[in-house]
Symmetry: D2
Subunit: 370 residues, 4 copies
């Protein structure tokens, strides 16, 4: 029987989940179309409107009603981070599978509780780390597994955007300490999830955070001191022994969605940048010296599951398509097939790495990642 | 009341229409969700399976039954080109709106009949020229309209792929004269639609076609002479007086979905390449000389309707997203709002340009586009 | 004994020759340092000053005195094109070798006379087509010779700059008919020399020229009609049977020194752009499909004679370095070694191609290149 | 009277100095041509041969003879680093100006002695940090000075090559501890000189070095333990308060001469990569949002002193041309004009930064740069 879907939250990520649930059967053609059963929003009227738009059968202003609905098998949780723990735990305890947006929760204690609930429930508890679903990233993983660039000695990963780059922009909650560390937890989980997926876990870190602007203006009270760090840099060693650099900047003018990866091995190198998410670069020393160079490889049907979206190479997937792939992986896993997902256990280890980085900054020393 | 949708054909383009019909209300949030009423495929069993996957209520092995269905308001036609005319004309005569994949038809006579049927019916008759729906292309159009690069003097457009590049690949129908001229009609309509959208119509052409391989192998009968031209080059003048070049090559190793555009004006220039569909380049002589350069501009919410897909810039739309935008434009037009679409009348003029190019090649002289 | 050098003209190209004569022995280390014997400029005082700067032993305001100087073995001619024929013929008749800047001469009659004089003299008569001296271009030639991309079916070459792009710039001699056709003869010889070097001769052409601006302003007499064509497009077939496109635009905002080459073969493709003269791109279908892509190959010691300039790859040659290589080729040829040069005979055939293109434009038809 | 030049060493850097001394007057045309007086090499016969090639009047196998030569005003020192101190101090004490290749010396004590000798002598003592001479780098410096991208908050600089990337390459002196730290001192001085030139001095550092390969093969004795670090990463704060990252890798397959710079300010950003040394990228938030993007700016006559090499933009300087500019700056300084050079005092501070980084690595803590 087709799985029943509940969706909590209809902001951007809610829409993204809705698009995925609507598209996954059409794109992949290998599973029964999910039944869009129930949608929850804070406001019941908005819930009703979004249910119409997104194609959900029922709507509610009370997310607990959704969780109680026997027609719901999987709950998509796309609300602000502060609500993840409560909702995910409730859903798991109600016997539902959970697909929760990252990061898990503002505190490590909550994240631990989420993981514990997932373990107790025996249900799927998957986090929305969609960057790992890019067919290009999977191809890189395959190349690494096939030893195409040999033993990995060094990796650099940068994540930069510019939404905090304007010093004239008003002070917002993003600059309040209560929102977290800054770029570190805002961005850090994404590159760490990629590192985990491609190269394994981080062993130890040395971090440094900085503030591009000491204050930001307020509407009426003059400049207010900034409490978070829009910039973070981290030196690390992987468990594998490779060294690395992680750089995060949410005040980087001109960068819009950059996640730039450089992986160096004993026989070659691989480059990727999320801003050009449909291509990557490979260098191998196997080519004749006169024609050795970084190849720019465009995504195509040979890079599964691109072929499910389009028959011709080089035509381009979009960011939202990654969520469709993630949705399919979740359904694969539910059906007992091999799948690439990041569950609450792995999610917890990603968040522990973030907190270790923050501690390293505070104590100005190297810190082991637990 | 919500519009009812019928879909004929479930190959790649059929899937693409299905995805668009499923997503358009979720993405845009400004219209009632269409009702997926009826799906037709040659094989009734396949039709049933696809209807389940794509979310259509009914399925049929007889496309005429779909057209006769009163629940269907708009018919998506995604079958091979040879069927477009018969189906589109029948649908229009049955009082349905039509969304038909390009090109219109193998012959100009059929295309003319389609246009006549559309005119008689008073219904929408829209062609699936999705490249014009890219927010980047719209932004370029706006920049041209705002005179950002001044009066246009010259344009170059190249469309290259490599699916015919391997001389060892077996002879297929693509090399038979009955399939058309070759790259010219296989590819030509796309760049011509872009030229039309951005710069207006072509006045006259001088074309030259060539064959990279005189023969191609067959399974059992030895090499067979190739009858179509995988390469075409065209010099042209636009109605506006600007000169231009069009180059088409479906045997271009390494090119996967290249549609490269260079537009030169009296105060600047614009570049675009579909292989990196989320960016374009702009040069203006307004900048100080020491910092004049082509800007690489990433697509973002400022380039509508990117904002309907994602709130953050630089995260990337995909090729299939263009079909969602096209679907929304069609619904806009149905609702009497301004819309960017290419109807059968414009489609006919695009195909006339293609045939004029073929005549120019045959007669080795300049030919006016009617 | 070391060869004695005479230099006529000390504008940019004169300086470029002087730099080459000063550097060639140091760079290559395989020949005796040339003796800089005599320098000629129209103005004797300027000649003296430049002789000091450039390291020449003697200076003169009378170029015929330089040609008569027995200390001079090779004459560098870097004066405006209108003087090439008279000077080159005089030098050859005086028994000197000649290194003359391109193009040969404004008229085909003069170019023919130059070639005839060279033949009669038995001396070297070399033209300054320095783009062919780029180690990258040589590497491409080697790859083509080694059949790396198979049989060549199609080539495109564009040469664009923007020094004529500003419609507000005053009318100059470049817009007068007496200066030639426009972009065609201003630029055309460069890409044609590259085609000749890499792919052989052009068999037939169909050309179209256009004017971005009908008039240009004058200082005091109002707008004046432009007589030359800043834009030219040419379809052609090579003797080899490959088809091609040549596009020239000296009013192309944003382009500074673009000479973009695309060569498509039966097993791969090669790309090059002079604006990034230290790299080229190669695609071959020999790689595994999942990692096929254009490789960006940086110039290095493996690409002779880069190794004579620098021991490490990727550090970059400059435009002026190409003239040093050309100088070395000329000296190689003088010593009876194999050398890549373009002599007056080849130069004449290049200019005949240009004139055939102009005739094609005038007569609006295909024209064979003699 | 023209300055007399002595050159010690004729390896690659010796050739590079010789080319500069031969070219500087021709290129710039604003000074008297230097007299190439004396050349020294270890082997007298080689000295004689190189003197012929390079155009020097006299040759010697004894560098002290060169320093004693009254015809020599400036001594170019291009020998291995171990000889710099002795030669530079001797030359300064003999009353000569010194142009010495970087880095200064293997030990800080020697570097300090060199600086002291320079101070005592009152003569010019200039180091060969040629990357700062790139007109592009000067343009970036001007933009920073003009506040084009506002207050600088963050900088990243990477320097990567691949000459140590092959684990099968034999153990060489580069892997011996006696050669230094590894990538840190092999590469580090270059990016630090750029940081100094563009953004000022480094205040404190936290460094981490790693070895891609624990051992390297020897010819006959089996694998030998590697003693140096081919990879180094450094977090730093500038005196200005900006934070930064420095990454060095001489085992980075595919990188040939990469020095990649990213500078982020409060109103924009600047990017540069030495592998494409004739261009840089600028982003400013001053442009209208819809057309904000990184501009790729090609070097041209507007970026002095490119204009002294070529009249047309985009034609490309080479790495060796930077040495010609450096030579001209040295002569400017000698003549009392403003000049961009790095003298022994600044050179010493650059080397102190390197040693501070090494200490940080050893002690695994932040270290202040003295």
């Amino acid at each position: 029987m087709a799985v029943g879907i509940g969706l909590i939250g209809t902001g951007y990520m809610g829409k993204c989940h809705a698009l995925a649930w609507n598209a996954v059967a059409s794109v992949f053609g290998d599973l029964e179309r999910p039944v869009l059963a129930h949608l929850a929003e804070v406001d019941a009227a908005l819930a009703a409107r979004r249910a119409d738009e997104f194609g959900f059968a029922r709507a509610t202003g009370d997310w607990r009603a959704l969780i109680a609905d026997p027609a719901v098998d999987i709950v998509s949780i796309t609300t602000p981070n502060a609500f993840h723990a409560e909702m995910a735990i409730a859903a798991l305890e109600a016997g539902k599978h959970v697909w929760c947006e990252k990061p898990m929760a503002p505190t490590i204690v909550e994240a631990q509780a989420m993981k514990a609930a997932a373990t107790r429930s025996g249900k799927l508890a998957i986090l929305g780390y969609n960057y790992i679903q890019n067919p290009i990233i999977r191809q890189i993983r395959t190349l690494l597994a096939e030893n195409t660039i040999g033993a990995i000695s060094h990796v650099r990963i940068e994540m930069d955007e510019d939404f905090m780059a304007d010093p004239a922009a008003l002070f917002t909650w993003k600059s309040e300490q209560s929102s977290g560390y800054g770029a570190l937890d805002d961005f850090g989980v994404h590159p760490i999830s990629l590192l985990h997926f491609l190269l394994g876990d981080i062993a130890r870190v040395s971090a440094h955070m900085s503030k591009p602007f000491a204050t930001r203006p307020t509407m009426s009270e003059g400049p207010r001191e900034v409490e978070t760090f829009d910039i973070a840099t981290i030196m690390f060693d992987l468990e594998s022994g490779a060294s690395g650099l992680l750089a995060l900047n949410r005040a980087a003018w001109g960068r819009k969605g950059r996640i730039a990866l450089q992986i160096f091995g004993s026989t070659g190198a691989i480059l990727f940048d999320q801003e050009r998410m449909n291509e990557f670069q490979l260098y191998t020393r196997d080519d004749h010296l006169a024609v050795q160079g970084f190849r720019t490889i465009l995504c195509g049907p040979v890079h599964a599951p691109y072929d499910r979206f389009m028959p011709a190479p080089g035509h381009g997937l979009g960011f939202n398509d990654l969520k469709i792939i993630e949705c399919h992986e979740l359904l694969n896993q539910l059906a007992g097939h091999p799948a690439h997902t990041i569950d609450f256990a792995t999610g917890l280890s990603i968040e522990k790495a973030v907190h270790a980085m923050a501690r390293s900054h505070a104590e100005q020393r190297w810190v082991s990642v637990p």
